[in-house]
Subunit: 470 residues, 4 copies
Amino acid sequence: MDFDFTTTASSSSASVAAANFTLPPFILTPLPHLADHLTDLPALPTPIDRIPFYHPSPGFYIAPSDVIVRHILFDLSSSDSTPSSRLLAYHRAGPRQTIRFDPAAVRAAIVTCGGLCPGLNTVIRELVVGLWEIYGVRRIFGVPSGYRGFYSAEPVPLDPKMVDGWHKRGGTVLTTSRGGFNLEKIVDGIEKHGFNQVYCIGGDGTMRGAVKIFEEIQRRKLYVSLTGIPKTVDNDIGIIDRSFGFQTAVEMAQQAISAAHVEAESAVNGIGLVKLMGRSTGHIALHATLSSRDVDCCLIPENDFYLEGKGGLFEFLDQRLKQNGHAVVVVAEGAGQDIIPRTDAQKEEKDESGNPVFLDVGAWLKSELKNWWEHEHPGELFTVKYIDPTYMIRAVPANATDNLYCTLLAHSAIHGVMAGYTGFVSGPINGNYGYIPIQEIAVSKNLVDTKDHKWAWVRSVTNQPDFLRI
Amino acid sequence: MDFDFTTTASSSSASVAAANFTLPPFILTPLPHLADHLTDLPALPTPIDRIPFYHPSPGFYIAPSDVIVRHILFDLSSSDSTPSSRLLAYHRAGPRQTIRFDPAAVRAAIVTCGGLCPGLNTVIRELVVGLWEIYGVRRIFGVPSGYRGFYSAEPVPLDPKMVDGWHKRGGTVLTTSRGGFNLEKIVDGIEKHGFNQVYCIGGDGTMRGAVKIFEEIQRRKLYVSLTGIPKTVDNDIGIIDRSFGFQTAVEMAQQAISAAHVEAESAVNGIGLVKLMGRSTGHIALHATLSSRDVDCCLIPENDFYLEGKGGLFEFLDQRLKQNGHAVVVVAEGAGQDIIPRTDAQKEEKDESGNPVFLDVGAWLKSELKNWWEHEHPGELFTVKYIDPTYMIRAVPANATDNLYCTLLAHSAIHGVMAGYTGFVSGPINGNYGYIPIQEIAVSKNLVDTKDHKWAWVRSVTNQPDFLRI
Amino acid sequence: MDFDFTTTASSSSASVAAANFTLPPFILTPLPHLADHLTDLPALPTPIDRIPFYHPSPGFYIAPSDVIVRHILFDLSSSDSTPSSRLLAYHRAGPRQTIRFDPAAVRAAIVTCGGLCPGLNTVIRELVVGLWEIYGVRRIFGVPSGYRGFYSAEPVPLDPKMVDGWHKRGGTVLTTSRGGFNLEKIVDGIEKHGFNQVYCIGGDGTMRGAVKIFEEIQRRKLYVSLTGIPKTVDNDIGIIDRSFGFQTAVEMAQQAISAAHVEAESAVNGIGLVKLMGRSTGHIALHATLSSRDVDCCLIPENDFYLEGKGGLFEFLDQRLKQNGHAVVVVAEGAGQDIIPRTDAQKEEKDESGNPVFLDVGAWLKSELKNWWEHEHPGELFTVKYIDPTYMIRAVPANATDNLYCTLLAHSAIHGVMAGYTGFVSGPINGNYGYIPIQEIAVSKNLVDTKDHKWAWVRSVTNQPDFLRI
Amino acid sequence: MDFDFTTTASSSSASVAAANFTLPPFILTPLPHLADHLTDLPALPTPIDRIPFYHPSPGFYIAPSDVIVRHILFDLSSSDSTPSSRLLAYHRAGPRQTIRFDPAAVRAAIVTCGGLCPGLNTVIRELVVGLWEIYGVRRIFGVPSGYRGFYSAEPVPLDPKMVDGWHKRGGTVLTTSRGGFNLEKIVDGIEKHGFNQVYCIGGDGTMRGAVKIFEEIQRRKLYVSLTGIPKTVDNDIGIIDRSFGFQTAVEMAQQAISAAHVEAESAVNGIGLVKLMGRSTGHIALHATLSSRDVDCCLIPENDFYLEGKGGLFEFLDQRLKQNGHAVVVVAEGAGQDIIPRTDAQKEEKDESGNPVFLDVGAWLKSELKNWWEHEHPGELFTVKYIDPTYMIRAVPANATDNLYCTLLAHSAIHGVMAGYTGFVSGPINGNYGYIPIQEIAVSKNLVDTKDHKWAWVRSVTNQPDFLRI
């Protein structure tokens, strides 16, 4: 790294004079495009120029040369000339001056798969409204019941009037389901219905499925553009800043934490226990804890914990009860899976992806807490109130922050698809919308970095143990 | 710009192959530090290492060489070797291994100035809790009534127990006021009370005042570190991603817009008119519009508008009423100031800063709309319902998103002050917390870029006129 | 009054032994019925008996002999043999075993008039669902735009699917307007469209109009049953316990009071001023004050007040500011109309009913408060924040309490109409639903009794002056 | 019954002419009073007359002769001269002109027992504020941890400043617990601490305990007045119109039902299942169902149900899924206890009162539904989402309706106690506050009358089966 970095002589922690530095080269991630395979695809002028009331300014359209850089934190003291990870940049999202679909010929399909997430209906609504109002597309269909709907259900025609109030409704009006992924049947269905734009909204399994559909579309050399819109309330998808619905979930989780806090406070030696969503990651638990400030301990999958002995959860809670008379524990559903005893049946049981099934860490913890107290403080009053607000969180409509986000997300996706990009995902990278190859998204993972400052802050905020058995 | 950028030969809009590029040099913005003037300031080990339950990992502490880059959008096709603006980077925020205050000797002062903003009490609470719990500071004071409190009121001792539930309360428990800025008296008060850490929370006027206090502190060579925490519900401060309270304001604005929408929908030729905060900028109006999806037209200070004639507001609303029977208009308080007729008295009148006083654009617009309709459609039913929700928006407690933000903001500020930095502001830059010289913040301005895509989206979302008189 | 009332000998305030007493005779209020004029009207069995899953129990149907008594408070010590007011009873509401409409021949019209009120859409929804599901009526129409819709608009057919989510929407989907009352045209319209059931939802003006329509229907001897459903968010209608939407309004008013309280608390000498609905009565102001507990003074139309001098508002607020540093004032919009100075134009101006126009007591009070302070405490800090939340209150959907109430109200109305009653209103009397002649409702008035205990409680709760100039 | 009741000759269902009727004698329920045992108790003038700003009007004070009648529904056709139940009246609540406590000598104790209920803190707050502000009492204590606190904890002095914001907090700041009822120790504690006013807030168990304490106080001839304030979110206490917190619970239950509805709607063959509070009664379930309008079936303890066969739940849900694709079921926790299979251990297990323990009807129903579907529709998609929102409902602060109610309830209690009444409960009877002997309350029971109209309405609203096996 070529760096001209001078500190003041007197002190290593003192301020740093203005310094120039240069960064190693960035790599611009290439993006699949319909023209990669369909070489004679015509390039058409965007109809945006012809919208009445609307006069795009010079900088309005985004060019393929407009990029956004992803890696933006650097340690200038590092003398290493080869940075540990490659520096990446992505194409910016937004309207292109040239499009690759005649709006009159577009048949767009929207499908929602997997569990509920606040904002699902907003994304659907905005896809419909955006395609209709901005590009003049008139044939837009909802595919019911998730992926299986491509081959087993009749698509539902959608228009702006129909979807008008959907952003104020939780769930998905299209209905959703898990499973039903049959690659051949799905792509056959796409062909049969004549869809040439496919918008897949779903979680990591859905994204992996979308990769396969995209590849099959490419194999069949179809004139079909596919985009994925990652839906994961857990916020466990990488590269993008966050996934839609996450902020709403954190907001709603406050209610549960607040109730647990009230229950704990109002009891003698009261413990409030809240299980929050997050199978592989504790983002919701972490953010809800930092937002609420009523939480004494936050347990997440990324940080092992233990119950007994020095530095364990019981010791910590014993102290808190002595100090405050009550305590609140938040646990992500994926936490502690390694330490919950499994029956033989549970050891055998695997989920659809072949992983061990999830056990209910909340119920287990509640039971362990009761046993511990009875053993340690027999006869003394003690209460554990356990709250699992999962369905009450994920079924609400998106809040304003997420509604705006879903709006921009859907519009970004439309612009990319109309421009002929395919096999991509749109999303905010460091606050700006970019396009990312869907393969890259499908394998990315956003975990809580227990080495970084946000986690440190949680621990400083809660003063909770780090369970390092030191 | 040294750039190896190759497009596929066949098509200019087609995908771009993986490409390397290098960026011009960045400039690292220097940060004022107590050691700049107090050369014999001792460097102490941080007490964080000694917190029980707490084992900072290797990457936990932030070094002066840790930076975050601010400019992250590039047009690779630009052949210009001199970029239009200098590329800037900033020091990252976070705990330092070496601190410059003995916690036992700290006397911290917290002051809130200007109007209310959701999150004020959270920032105060977190400053108190963070100083107390992480650094062991025991003398923390609230200065009542804004800047004038430094010389006219008795500081209030604060501790974690006292501030415990403050993050769930709107307003500021410390009380606030405008004006009262007397530089000499304030710095004398700081000296008299023996404060060596000053946390100033307030809007742009407060930040400009803080710059002067900082400079006077430097002139007097005091062992006092000052940090500013920008409070502007309007989100009109530059460099940082957003200001605290803004998301909550956008959330609350939905209620007003929703009520205006219901009133408009339920009437015959009903217009719902909502005035939202934003004197120099329309961020709240813009975000609330994009979040709500019930708004037909959003008027902001950055975009001139006119009422009559082709392409004007009346023509647009006439169309909307014909199509839908109702319409919703959102107007930022700073919009249209140039076209509201002023009385001679109003032309003379100046506010404290010497600017022309603000006129009530909402009341004026309501009256103009009525006159227009009576003139154009005499005898036909028509209703305008005007809502000004300002105080109901700014007096609420912060939502979860803002509470978390205020928490991280306060902790960032504490870490910077304890490390000896002064005359700075902490805030998120592209999603990561950094330290910015307060002088730079005080002159920065965050306006809606009506050339960029977000504004374009608003117009595409509302199909509202761009008032360009073309 | 024939009363055998014996107290214990020892003490006049001591407990009273079990005592028998008898009450003077009650008068059962007669109810207009279609059979009064249409003597050969057939009596049909209700279809409720034939609903699958449904087995009405013996006590299920209400008979004309089922009554509810209205006067239930008595002073047993009163030796007066003639009670001051006549004791009244009313027919109970509910399903009758015999109905007077063949469901297949029903054409029902629903109209909403006047301003918005939470629950309007719920009443409409429940009328549609109740008629359809319980009685099997299939021709139900919404009359748009209020009374004028009977002669100037096309009725909109309604069915359960269409109205399904309406109870979660504020306002009225049917749209509403003021005025447009043309008796001949309206009754002609009823005849022309073949409506034989008319459900009028509106305020006191609407009820007076409904009386005239009812009388004209009787004059023309039409086979048309009319019922009124009083809509007054102010709760100013007599006889019934309360009007729908009132509880929701009180609930929403808390937000405004809370914001005013926060603004006042956060300022130096801060006054929060909230104007609440209530032209002739202060029920909303009173209930909101008792619910909120943050209010220092509640001004209502039923209680004159004055500003200056001993026992006046200014003296009271001066004390409060000295004690607490802030104060919150709630004022009903009809309060103080006598003491606000009127311009000559305002003295002339009359509203549609010939009453003097209403002046904005909130704006006036804000201005008077500022003048007073500047005069009494020149140079001292002082802030008045004035909030008028009217449209944000009345445009919200009904809360659970009101939604349930609207449901029972609509079903009561349907049962009465199907049974052949006409010219009536249904509503709760001492907690039980009864039928009341609409003429009686139209002239009734529910004012706050400033002699009774609830008002006394307000004063004890706020310690506010009674403005009696004693 | 002496009744002059004439119907119009033509038709039995036609309107009834104005008719006089007289009612059988009422019995006025006697109220225990301190003077019953302490015959030389002095009678003092109330200090209310001396409150500045306050001028009680002639009708302000309530006399022992002011009564409210409880039975208000009559069937005038009943020829039975002996009504089925005795007609009862009660003393009205409110301030008395003569009191039996010298405020300077009062030592008041407030205790909260049992589970949480919205409004608990409001009642406490209002007792403190009312005693302090209206009567000038200065020694008011909170007894922590429920009944056991009388002998095992130190009372906490309370004053208006301390309790100021409590009505906005859920739970009970005093803390609560179950059990710990030791009569001797409690009354000894009352004597030891010198309490002469005891305010017991709690559920039916607490009320039965309060009866015993009251009787022991009488036995010991103590100068101690005791009042009970029934706290039962289930609304299962008789005579009074409703218990505090109930409306808030119904309001909050909407969220859970709404979430269940969204989950059900968004799935293929989705069932949303919500368990609501109500061990012996289904009031919350019933009211929440009537308020929400999204519920297909409401199961309550008062109405047996069965799963299989004709007219059973499964058949009903099968139909609903065929019609709508989804269904929502609300079940009160006490429903179905007779049909849930119990293990031998569960058959043995008794709760503290010797009743069979409650089984989780929600979890059982969820499991039964899954088994049924797998058996009846193997391979078809099906989802049951089960929500138990209990703690999230009961831990919230009271809404405006309940806050007002708690305020009036507390003030009524204070006035009664100050007047020397004891062993009583205050509460609304047909909308007006009265005093009821606590023994009567302790044995009263408020069940849903499945014969009456409200239940009929539920069934008509949901079209659910009545499970009568006809």
